[in-house]
C-alpha cells in the first residue's frame, strides 16, 4: 500500500519518504535525540546512585514543581473562563466583524513576549494605575502591592497564553452547523439547555486543545514569574534555567527538566482520558 498517491498511482513509491526526509531527520536529530541526551545527562553524570539527580530534584525543588503546577492550572482555568465566552461571541455573534475580531485576538503576538510582560510591570507597579485604582476602591489595602505577588504572576501567565485558548475553541465552535443549534433550541426549549446539550459537547475538542496549549507553556514559563514576581513566586523554569546556565549542575538540571516533561506528558494523557478525546490537531 505504501506510496499510492491520492490522485492516482503514477508516482514513485519512495516519493513521500523523500519529501518528509529533511524535516523528519531534523526533528529526530534536534528534538528526539536531545531528549535522550537529557535523560542520559540526568543519570550518567550523577554523583551518587543513578537517581541522585532526580532525588535532589524532588527533595530540594519539589515545592517549585508544585507551585508551577498550581499557577499553570489556575491560569488555564482563568483563560478558559475568559476565552470561551470571547470565542463564542466571535463564532456566533460577530457577523461581519468576525475577521476583525480574529485579527484583534492575535494582535498581541505581533509585539514581543518580553515587552508585553514588561508592560504589565508598568501597569501593576506600586506607583502604577492598577494599584491606584484598587486602593481607591478599597479592594487593596493602603500600601498593598500587586507586583511581586502571585496575583501578578498568574495574571501575566493568563494574559500571555489567552490567545492559545481562544483560537482552538473558536475553530471548533465555528465548525458547528447553525441549523443544528437552531434544532437544538427548538428541541430542548431554551438556549441554555441547547448550549449544554449540543454546543458545549461539540466544542470540547477545542477546549481540550486550548487548555493544553495554555497549560503546557504556562507550566514551563519563567518570564512572568521573573518579571512580575518575587523569589517567592519562582517557578520550576527559573530553577532549570539557573541550574543549566549559572550553577551548571547538569545532572540536577537535566533531572528537573526531564521530570517536568514527564509530569506534563502524564497530565496530558490523564486529561485525554477524562475528556475522552485524543485529537490534538
Amino acid at each position: 500500500m505504501a506510496g499510492i498517491a491520492a490522485g492516482g498511482a503514477r508516482r514513485h513509491p519512495l516519493a513521500p519518504y523523500l519529501l518528509v526526509a529533511p524535516g523528519v531527520l531534523w526533528l529526530v536529530a534536534f528534538y528526539l535525540i536531545p531528549l535522550l541526551t537529557l535523560g542520559r545527562t540526568a543519570v550518567a553524570g550523577a554523583a551518587g546512585p543513578w537517581y541522585d539527580g532526580f532525588a535532589r530534584a524532588f527533595t530540594v525543588y519539589g515545592h517549585h514543581l508544585v507551585r508551577s503546577l498550581d499557577y499553570a492550572l489556575i491560569a488555564t482555568a482563568l483563560a478558559l473562563a475568559l476565552g470561551y465566552p470571547l470565542a463564542y461571541v466571535m463564532a456566533f455573534r460577530s457577523g461581519r466583524l468576525r475577521n476583525l475580531l480574529l485579527g484583534l485576538v492575535i494582535l498581541p503576538f505581533f509585539t514581543t513576549f518580553l515587552v508585553r510582560t514588561f508592560a504589565w510591570k508598568t501597569i501593576l507597579n506600586d506607583r502604577g494605575p492598577a494599584v491606584w485604582v484598587l486602593t481607591r476602591l478599597h479592594l487593596l489595602p493602603a500600601g498593598g502591592r500587586l507586583l511581586d505577588t502571585a496575583v501578578a504572576v498568574i495574571g501575566g501567565l493568563t494574559y500571555n497564553f489567552l490567545p492559545f485558548m481562544v483560537m482552538p475553541i473558536y475553530v471548533s465552535l465555528e465548525k458547528i452547523d447553525r441549523r443544528l443549534v437552531e434544532a437544538a433550541q427548538d428541541l430542548y426549549s431554551g438556549p441554555l439547555r441547547a448550549f449544554g446539550r449540543v454546543v458545549l459537547p461539540l466544542s470540547l475538542p477545542g477546549v481540550f486543545a486550548g487548555s493544553l496549549l495554555t497549560f503546557i507553556p504556562a507550566m514551563g514559563d519563567f518570564i512572568n514569574a521573573e518579571l512580575l514576581g518575587s523569589p517567592n513566586q519562582q517557578m520550576i523554569g527559573t530553577v532549570i534555567q539557573n541550574q543549566f546556565l549559572q550553577v551548571r549542575d547538569y545532572p540536577l538540571a537535566a533531572a528537573l527538566s526531564f521530570t517536568l516533561m514527564a509530569l506534563i506528558t502524564l497530565g496530558v494523557l490523564l486529561y485525554a482520558r477524562v475528556i475522552g478525546t485524543e485529537d490534538l490537531a
Binding site: 492516482g8 513521500p16 524535516g23 523528519v24 541526551t37 537529557l38 509585539t111 513576549f113 501597569i123 516533561m261
Partner: protein, 272 residues
Amino acid sequence: MASPVRKIAQRALDAYAILVLLYLFLPIGVIILYSFNKPEGKFNFVWKAFSTEAWTDPFKYRPLVDAMKLSLGVALISTSVATVFGALIALALCRYRFRGSGLVNLLLVLPLTTPEVVLGSSLLSLFLSLNVAMGFATIVVAHVMFSVSYVALTVRARIRGFDWTLEEAAMDLGAGPFRVVTRVTLPLIAPGIAAAAMLSFALSLDDFIITLFNSGSRVTYPLYIYGAQRSAYPPQINVVATAILFGSLLLLGATVLWQNRSTRESTGGRAG
C-alpha cells in the same frame, strides 16, 4: 422571537467579550504610550513626561540595533529552511497514503506539547555532550527545530482537500514534472506557505526561552530586552516594539488583500 431576558443575556455576553478584548489590548496600549515617555532614571515604567525623543533617535543604543540585526538574520535563515522542510512534509501528508505517516504526524505534534524550557535545555545538553560551540548556528538549528511543526501543520490545514487531479490533468496535457510543480502545485499551495512562513518568522523573532539556552554569547532582540529589564530599559525598546507591531499589521493587511485577489481570480477563472 428573542425574549427580553435573552436579549439582556446576549448583551451581557457581548460586553464580557469586549472586556476580555480590552484585557488583551491593555499592555499594547501601554507599550505604544510609553514609547512617548521621557522616563526618569533608567527604567521606563513610571510615566514622567511626553516626549518624541525616542522616536527621533530610535537607533541610539548600539546593542539594541545589533540585537535586532541578529534576530532578523536568524529569523530569515531559519524561516527559509523551516518553510521548505515543513511544506514538503505537509505535501507528503496530504497527497500520499504511506506507511509511517502516523508517526510523522506524532513527531510534528510532540514538540508543540513539550515546554520550551525542556526543548531548550535538551538541545543544550546535546550540544554540550558533542562539545559544539554555541552561537549563530546553534540558534538557527533550534529555531528551525521548533518552526518545522508549525509550518507543516499550518500548510497541511490550508491545503487539505485540494483537487490534486489538476496535476494529473496538467501531465495529461503534456506538461513535464518541473512545469507541473511551477505552474500548478506551487500556485495552489502558495497562500498556505506564505501564512506559514510569516508565522515561523514571527515565532523566531519572538523566541526567548529556547534561544537563551543555545545562544552562547550572542544576544538576540528578546535576549537584549531580558538584559535591559535588569539594567536599563530605554523607551527605544517600546519604539522598536511599536514599529514591529505596525510593520506586521501592514504585512498582514497586504497578504489578506493578495489572498482575496487570488481567490477572486481563481473563482473567476472557474466561472469563465
